[in-house]
Amino acid sequence: MEAELKEMLTDLDTLKRSLPDHPSLNSSIDKMQLRVEHLTNLAKSAPGRRLKVKDMSAEVVDSNPYSRLMALQRMGIVENYERIREFSVAIVGIGGVGSVAAEMLTRCGIGRLLLYDYDKVELANMNRLFFRPEQVGMTKTDAAVQTLSDINPDVVLESYTLNITTLQGFETFMSSLKNKTFCPSKQGIGVDLVLSCVDNYEARMVVNQACNELNQTWMESGVSEDAVSGHIQLLIPGETACFACAPPLVVASGVDERTLKREGVCAASLPTTMGVVAGLLVQNTLKYLLKFGYVSPYLGYNALKDYFPTMEMKPNPQCSNAACLERQNEYILAKPARDAAAKAKKEEASEPDSLKDKINVLDDSERNITLLQESETSLPKSATLSLIASITILMEGFVPSNPEVDSLADAQIRLSLAMEVLDLNLIKQRLDHLNAL
């Protein structure tokens, strides 16, 4: 651009000299030259894209994008910050929470981000962070890659514009998670963590399915439709409750997750609540990946009362998800090895204080849900009670049958036995025939 502007100036100069002396023409050419000079200055001051950085330096200079992050090491918070460049994180759903989480991880210098979304940027998204009005009409994944690669070109970005709930989308989702070309020496699958930032129950169940099958740890996040509460949850297949074991929102607020409406026109949203939830989610992610502090198994956020409930949920032995049950069995089988390792670790260091204050609010043998409440937090008694009540409601929701329909089911099965011999195509033809009538 600068070179072109320079050429333009030369052209204008030649034009001025070749023209006969004409005051009004000369003055307008002068004006044009001034404008071009102004543009040249603007072009010079426009920020260029920063170059890739080979190693993260701890040197404190203005030009080092990682100096403040590497300082975490010097302050004794993180042992080895630069490890962050080895990690791959998949973010499912690039909306109000996912896009902000992606930006945070990008600024932290994460190694690789995999981004999944099928939606486009709309003006209605502008009450949230990250996307800009000029990106309206772009797919959220493309717009995110555009912004994120400008912010930090060191991050490897992969974008997948697809709907993970469809059969085809799910297969691509699974194979992209399994791909290990970024870090072939790594244990497990190709990613270190999956972050679910979707806005509906169906998509959460799909992430849950994939992670249970791949034995992949993931974190779930959500903001309520009234925009004033949210939560994050850590899910380790076999070890903690999976999303099908107990939907978390029911436990926290007494609202059934399944009845939740999504973004779009049905729901309200605030940049604040979404920003807070994204912050909590990425904070937990950094603690989990870089091994510092306490990784929360569940953290709720009630914006109206500024109340942050925490709890732990054990897996449901009657979970409807077959892959969850497989992981639960593996976890039980691995118990002796785990105990030995824990014992060895215990001898090395004493237990963290926070665990000593653990109070079991519920009989976990019955409910498989343990509430953790730190003694200094002033949780109103009524809130505890409503929590227990809502868990009971949740369990009632699990009653696997409806007697009214059950007796009918038996009758129907007997009736349908006669039709059992028909093959699928014949039955299909029958419906087509009926449709044509």
Binding site: T166, F170, V206, A244, D256, R258, C266, S416, L424
Partner: protein, 174 residues
């Protein structure tokens, strides 16, 4: 079943229930499930026809039975309003219900998500989850789409958001 009108209730109890818990990734079990889906749809369609309350056509658009397309219609003030109907079977089916889409109504009502997916009532999803795997496509249409059409079509017509096809034809002639 609180919150449902008696008609929907009695219709629902007559739709055959399914027994195979299988989704599109489950191979032979999915074929079995598909058979049950068809049987249930056949029974529901025949029942509607016999009661002179025929209101939809639906059939699988691919051999795997994961994509379904058809039509549905609703009669308001003696005029019939017909819409394209479509949905995909989600990978986590039947744990999660299909998301029914009416693409022609996309953007015309608040009771819809982007892409024309209808907003289901607060009653529907818990009931679906409680009755997994016995509810199928026919039940989703009966409990999800039918009440939606009954509630939304009159509002869409009265507010002028949708017009009857005869009105559109006569308007373009004049």
């Amino acid at each position: 079943m609180e919150g449902w009108d008696p008609n929907t209730k009695s219709t629902l109890t007559q739709i055959p229930l399914l027994s195979t818990k299988a989704g599109p990734r489950d191979g032979a079990a999915w074929t079995q499930r598909l058979k049950e889906e068809y049987k249930s749809l056949i029974a529901y369609t025949s029942m509607n026809k016999s009661k002179d309350n025929d209101w939809f056509r639906i059939s699988a658009a691919n051999p795997e039975g994961t994509r379904w397309i058809g039509k549905c219609w609703y009669v308001h003030n003696l005029l019939k309003y017909e819409f394209d109907l479509q949905f995909d079977i989600p990978v986590t089916y039947p744990s999660t219900a299909p998301e029914i889409e009416l693409p022609q109504l996309d953007g015309k009502t608040h009771k819809m998500y982007r892409g024309g997916k209808i907003c289901l009532t607060v009653h529907f999803k818990p009931l679906w989850a409680k009755n997994c795997p016995r509810f199928g496509i026919a039940h989703a249409l009966c409990l999800g789409l039918a009440p939606w059409l009954a509630a939304e079509v009159p509002i869409l017509v009265d507010s002028g958001m949708i017009k009857h096809k005869d009105d559109i034809a006569s308007a373009s002639e004049s």
